[in-house]
Symmetry: C2
Subunit: 748 residues, 2 copies
């Protein structure tokens, strides 16, 4: 059989989506590409749905939160598996601050007496839901201790814009306990903003509008959150820094120097407690005051009022403030020719309770990849670069395992890590790929080679068609741009320390969009729920293993690391345009509002029977000089074009490429600034960061964007200059890499 | 005291909003304007909030639906009042078909047994809510008799677009009973469209999302619909023809020729019954099948499913099909110099139950105007034109009183009626003015002279500021256009026969926008509710009397009828633009959908676990020749400009104006076509009509717009030509009126 025939035969079994097997592989010489494609095809044939199912059943069999017996048990089981598959594995242990509840109490004292249940009942037929001896109670980690009694105010999602609306209603939360619904921001933002406005306590509940019967039938009849279901979760101030609150910037080893608890900056300022909608309903029903604005109303069968009061609430929380061990399981496949270039792949193994979806759906795919790579190694596969598989612990409380490990290994990682590839939860549907835009083209090429289990299209094609269906804006891009855009990374999973702190190009991969569900961070996120309502036949678990594993192999085997910078430049240009528009919109909005104040619009349209406060006139934002950003983008675009031309002519023989590869590894580092972002030096990346007031949600070019959002104009000007310099430095580095390639160019 | 001093003094008492007392009055010679303004100021000082309150209390003291004892009693009381105030009044009686319930039954047979209550309970503290001996049961008038048992399907609002969505979900209503929520269209559309799709019965319920606790606290704690509240209402096919179903096009006098009941075209095709949300909840909760699309979900604490079934429902309704007397109370003030030019003013007096808001809030303002005009007559006021005040009966069941009266008097009205000014419900807030656009400038000038009771601005100014606040689109218009736009009239109140059937320029006036409430067509729309939750101090009742009465006087006293046609031309141009955009958008939408079908978007984005049917490709709509409409609009604009120039130079001495006034009265008639609209010849107006599938909602240039919406392209071309001719004829008439003015022009 000739080469094409053989390939087609392999492909017909392993990836019948009809991938571009003839197309050159970026960063690969033709012969290397042929070999790589053969190994990849073998790889993708290995992941097995029964194996994924067995792994999930094992890992989610008991509650396995950080510090629990089964968390350690799982870590040791994973270690054993890595070793069984021939990988060089070990457990690395860190000691982190972990508050667990001693006391939780929430009661309404007026106008009626009510004591919140604060418990998730077991569900008949769901065997693990009754393991209450091992379940963590419902709470928010890194709430401070507190005991407060105060009138209640409903603050919608509790984001800054909601407090502006409260101002317009003439309502203050000073001295009040606020009740906010989940959604609209990462949960940790809610107590932070509440405290900034003078609240003394914060209750967070799951409204059935976003997370209950409004969305679909509730568990166990359906996938959605039942009345007593509670979303646990961290409220650590992660936009300041994630990881152990006592060891910012350094690994929380046993001997690390620790802050005293009172100096930890990432604990909340006020006590916080999450509750179910069954517990929230009597509280919300007891509020009077203005009817909540239309956008604030949830799906409880009540008239939502804002308060304050007459509901008067007593909230008490107290915690054990212990150090607990984090068990990160780390496995290595040493690189054959470039052992000092690392491809890091991770997924956490700890959960809030049983965590079948979060994180075991992703963790079992990661383990399936490791098993498959072990088999390839036995067959003689030799990756050029070192591959490191990581099963993180303590993600749920604040990215503890990944952050402490990366802080502990910062020097080696900074030197060697070419990429970090993350996954977390997984479900049915469409490929979600977020990450560094120098990897946008790379992840697009991978996605073209993975078969979607439901449609038999490539996952790339299915995603493209979904983008066409989605909206007129995404449609045009999806049809005309060669690559589908990937989202920028905010926070909320273990890539954070890699991309934001160390400047390592990162990807976050997963499938989803078809499954709904409301078991997030509850006892109902378990094997029973997952096998009834999510990727029940584990075909998307297999697709995730195939996608992430292919990405790992293709990065590890390339002659030249397959970064691409024209998409980065295009994306940076888009961000700069967005920021310019943000300023212009703010100017127009404030100019218009001032004009309306002058015209008397607010006085004329206020209903005299309703209390309201018209907004105050404010200065129109000044014009800012965006030239440094614009020049930075243009330099980046020029260098990226030069690099593409150089690559097209480059001879991808090994000897000449080491210098180019080392420069390329540097490319994401150059997007960082050692000083970090204003007020949060841990965050070094100048293009991506979680927002100070979004938490998980990304802010791109964050220093400039947030300065404008928060009306700090002098800072905005300074940050424009700084980011402009970062972009120029990136352009210079890419020029350097291009020059390396030009040295070894083939004749035109 | 000089003239200005005297005027200021009067104005300071009567309308301190600072009106344009110096501005000339359109259609008035300077001296006539001075006299008119004095009488108007006297008029506006008369309406009295205590008097309005007393009238409301009297008229709403007992249920007074068509055919009830207190309906007749009210008519006689109103007659007595008109006479007491010195008006020449009489009751005109018509005999109309009125179905009243003999039997109403709604029960669920599977999966659980449930019998709907179908009753609104009395509320403690609300004295009239317990008058159940006289209350009409909850029902929809002009439902046919029926007794059906079938699976249930939830159809959202039950408009055509909802059935397209059901098609996409692969669900048919053939043989089913549908349950639709109120809203999204006039209620009569719901059974009509359901029957067109093969349903055998229709239940309509009030969802708390639009009409209950979601919006605000429920009665009696708040203004909103309580759990057992039901919206009665007519489901007659009014877009075909309103009024007595047995006497289309002719007055339902005792001796009128009547259709046999079986030939009446405006009864529903399937049985219909309205229910409360308390009664709807068990039915909706028992549905399975797909989860309802997000936009379909209401505020009940359930997961909304579409069905069909397993809920199986038995619906039985049977009615007495009797003729009942309609009592229209008609009062005249004969014109002093142009008795053959009529200013007609009306509001209905009948209600579904006690009807404090609907219609007594409007009817008591109308009576207050009549009282005030009676006082002016005693003081020597002599309107030039004849004024006719009408208190209609039988509006609720299908505009019966107004339609039969106007059909009976069609010949005189066609000859003489210059304008019909309507009102109906009334509340607090902003002036709502809809009507013929030849009256747009007129109603703007009136609104500038009325004081808003809450802000002390003119109601015009307050409305302008509200439009500025509303949206960027309305903002620009509100700031730049000299006149605020008025809405076109659809249907749903007594202006329908005047504007749509007879082509009489019409206005509909009322205040609202600040009060919310959910007592529409229920037993709770009563004096207790109104005086607790609406215009409780009757200041907006007074404002309505001042507005409508000023409009009546100013039309009746003008030397030259104050129509204005540049706004009409501008509006017609806007409508033609909208229709061109409608076609273009349809072309693009279908072209894009066909492309997506070809690309495989629908197959790729369908969740295999959910049943769905991709849309079928369909031909892209052809281009249509809009030139006749465009030429018609341009001709109209030129004539309107010519008329304005002629008016500016005209000497408004009486003798020369009779011919011009007679032409002007014709101007709205010219916008009709004797053949009427396609398939509904009763509707003669070519610019305004209620939509065949919106019911109350207006369709402008309806023949063309609906032909395009319903993809009847040949018809659309023909209707474009016809409406083009109508616009050209209107232009010619206006030219004629201008020529009359030019004859008597003053020297330039």
């Amino acid at each position: 059989m000739n080469r094409i025939g053989r390939l087609v035969c392999v492909l017909a079994v392993a990836w019948p989506a009809g991938a571009a097997e003839e197309a050159p592989l970026r960063g690969y010489a033709p012969e290397s590409a042929r070999v790589e494609r053969e190994w990849e095809a073998k790889f993708r044939a290995i992941p097995d749905t029964q194996s994924l199912r067995d792994t999930m059943q094992r890992l989610s069999a008991r509650p396995h939160h950080l510090g629990s017996p089964y968390d350690k048990d799982n870590a040791e089981w994973i270690l054993g598996k890595f070793k069984e598959w021939g990988l060089d594995a070990q457990i690395e242990v860190f000691q982190v601050l972990l508050p667990t509840p001693k006391e939780r109490r929430l009661e309404m004292l007026e106008p009626v007496q009510f004591t919140a249940r604060l418990e998730e009942p077991a569900v008949a037929g769901d065997p693990t839901s009754g393991q209450n001896a091992e379940q963590l109670p419902t709470y928010n980690a890194y709430s401070i201790d507190g005991d407060v009694t105060a009138p209640l105010v409903y603050v919608n999602y509790g984001v800054p814009a909601d407090y502006e609306q409260l101002d317009r209603l003439g309502i203050s939360v000073k001295g009040a306990i606020v009740i906010a619904r989940y959604g609209g921001s990462w949960r940790g933002i809610k107590p932070k903003v509440a405290a900034e406005h003078g609240a003394v306590g914060c209750i967070i509940y799951s409204d059935p509008r976003e997370d209950g019967y409004y969305e679909g039938d509730v568990f166990p009849e359906g996938a959605w959150r039942p009345r007593d279901g509670v979303q646990r979760g961290s409220v650590m101030d992660m936009p300041l820094y994630p990881g152990d609150p006592l060891t910012p910037g350094v690994g929380a080893t046993a001997e690390a120097k620790r802050l005293p608890l009172k100096d930890a900056q990432t604990l909340t300022k006020i006590p916080v407690l999450p509750i179910s909608y069954a517990d929230a309903k009597p509280l919300l029903a007891a509020l009077k005051g203005p009817v909540a604005p239309a956008g604030w109303r949830g799906a409880l069968p009540i008239t939502y009022h804002v308060g304050p009061g007459p509901a008067r609430v007593h909230l008490k929380v107290a915690f054990n403030w212990d150090l607990k061990p984090v068990y990160d399981v780390i496995a290595r496949i040493p690189g054959s020719t470039a052992p000092d270039e690392w491809i890091v792949r991770g997924n956490h193994h700890d959960a809030w309770v049983n965590g079948a979806e979060d994180p075991v759906a992703g963790a079992s795919a990661l383990l399936e990849e490791a098993r498959a790579l072990g088999l390839l190694l036995q067959q003689g596969w030799k990756p050029k670069r070192t591959i490191i598989y990581c099963a993180w612990d303590g993600e749920e409380q604040g990215l503890l395992g990944s952050t402490e490990w990366a802080e502990a290994h910062a020097a080696e990682l900074s030197r060697s890590a070419a990429v970090y590839i993350n996954s977390d939860s997984n479900g049915r549907g469409y490929l979600y790929a977020g990450g560094s835009h120098s990897l946008e083209k790379f992840v697009n090429t991978v996605a073209r080679d993975i078969e979607d289990p439901e449609t038999k299209l490539s996952v790339w094609k299915r995603l493209q068609l979904q983008r066409i269906a989605e909206s007129p804006e995404s449609r045009q891009d999806a049809r005309q741009r060669p690559d589908l855009r990937i989202g920028a990374l905010g926070s909320g999973s273990d890539y954070t320390v890699f991309v934001d702190h160390l400047g390592i190009a990162s990807l976050n991969l997963g499938f989803g969009g078809e499954d709904g569900g409301g078991i997030y961070h509850s006892i109902y996120d378990d094997f029973y729920w997952f096998t009834h309502f999510s990727d029940s036949d584990f075909r998307y678990g297999r697709a995730l293993a195939q996608t992430a594993g292919t990405a790992v192999m293709r990065m590890a085997g390339a002659d030249l690391l397959p970064y691409e910078f024209t998409n980065l430049a295009d994306t940076a240009r888009k961000y700069v345009g967005e920021i310019q528009k943000l300023l212009k919109d703010k100017q127009e909005e404030i100019r218009e509002r001032n004009r309306q104040i002058e015209e008397g619009v607010f006085a004329a349209t206020a209903d005299p029977r309703e209390k309201s406060a018209p907004p105050a006139a404010e200065p129109v934002p000044p014009f800012l000089g965006f030239a440094p950003l614009e020049n930075g983008v243009e330099a980046l675009a020029r260098s990226a074009e030069r690099y593409e031309k150089a690559l097209a002519k480059a001879a991808l023989g090994r000897a000449s490429l080491q210098a180019a590869n080392h420069k390329l590894i540097e490319s994401e580092r150059r997007l960082t600034d050692p000083g970090g972002l204003p007020g949060r030096p841990w965050f070094k990346h100048q293009i991506y960061a979680p927002g100070m007031y979004t938490g998980y949600g990304v802010k791109t070019i964050p220093a400039v964007r947030e300065a404008i959002e928060q009306k700090r104009w002098t800072e905005a000007e300074a940050e424009i200059a700084r980011v402009g310099r970062v972009l120029a430095a990136e352009a210079a580095l890419i020029d350097g890499a291009a020059a390396e390639l030009e040295k070894g160019a083939t004749a035109p």
